[in-house]
């Protein structure tokens, strides 16, 4: 179900343009709130979360230069070495279209086995009408219900559960929740 041009939101167009550049350089996934919003969830967001496989400084510099060439800029710095320092220190950085303040793409490097599992199980989600890689529906539900847990996140998870009713694996959700507790929460609930 591809979206007609007129159906595309400002967020959709921003994400697609950003992804066109990123996919020339590395594996990526779009995660969290935008996954729900791309499936119709009616709430606001200023940032879209993206996880990239970890890159060397040299490869990240190529990606950064390509983003600049395509009309994006980084809010933290124009210097790829400075931006890279943020990323390898597990801090996210934000890119916007040059001269605009939003929307913004919040990117970070994959940091642990959960993130690499998300990248390995990435999916295209035709219901969204967007030709981009997302983390799986099971991953998004598990993260929102087990780890993030704010009202907004629990509502996102409920929304995805209804949209994908009978189309996702509860067993996989539970497996991911168990992994999240082990890797990110020291085994606690």
């Amino acid at each position: 179900m591809k979206r007609e041009v007129s159906d595309k939101t400002i967020l959709d167009e921003f994400v697609e343009d950003f992804v066109k550049v990123v996919e020339r350089h590395c594996n990526y996934i779009v995660v969290s709130g935008f996954v729900a919003i791309a499936h119709g969830r009616s709430r606001g967001t200023e940032d879209i979360d993206m996880i990239l496989e970890k890159l060397s400084l040299k490869d990240f510099d190529k990606l950064h230069v390509d983003l600049l060439k395509n009309g994006f800029e980084c809010m933290q710095s124009g210097d790829s070495k400075v931006i890279y320092d943020y990323l390898i220190n597990v801090t996210s950085v934000r890119y916007v279209r040059e001269g605009e303040f939003l929307p913004e793409m919040e990117i970070k490097f994959a940091k642990d086995e959960i993130d690499y599992y998300q990248l390995a199980t990435k999916v295209k989600l035709p219901l969204s009408g967007l030709d981009i890689w997302f983390s799986s529906i099971e991953m998004n539900i598990a993260f929102k219900e087990e780890y993030l847990k704010s009202d907004k996140d629990l509502e996102d998870a409920r929304h995805l559960r209804i949209i994908y009713k009978d189309k996702f694996s509860e067993e996989e959700v539970n497996k991911i929740k168990k992994d999240i507790r082990r890797v990110r929460m020291n085994g606690k609930r």
């Binding site: 939101t9 967020l11 919003i37 809010m75 605009e100 009202d151 409920r158």
Partner: protein, 63 residues
């Protein structure tokens, strides 16, 4: 403010509408999502033209 259960009920109502009306929801959704971006942009544009406005915007984003 703690959200009451009517909030989740509305989330469920809208998600079911999307499932049942695959050709109708997008137009409504686009208006809603775009309006928020347009309003925020308008505000940030104004803020950026004030003294230390750009710095404040970066602080807001790093919250």
């Amino acid at each position: 403010m703690v959200r009451d259960k009517s909030h989740m009920e509305q989330v469920e109502r809208w998600a079911n509408f999307i499932r049942e009306n695959p050709d109708k929801w997008k137009k409504q959704h686009k208006k809603f999502i775009d309006a928020q971006i347009i309003m925020s942009r308008r505000f940030y544009d104004k803020l950026s033209k004030t003294k230390k406005g750009r710095k404040k915007i970066i602080l807001l984003r790093d919250k």
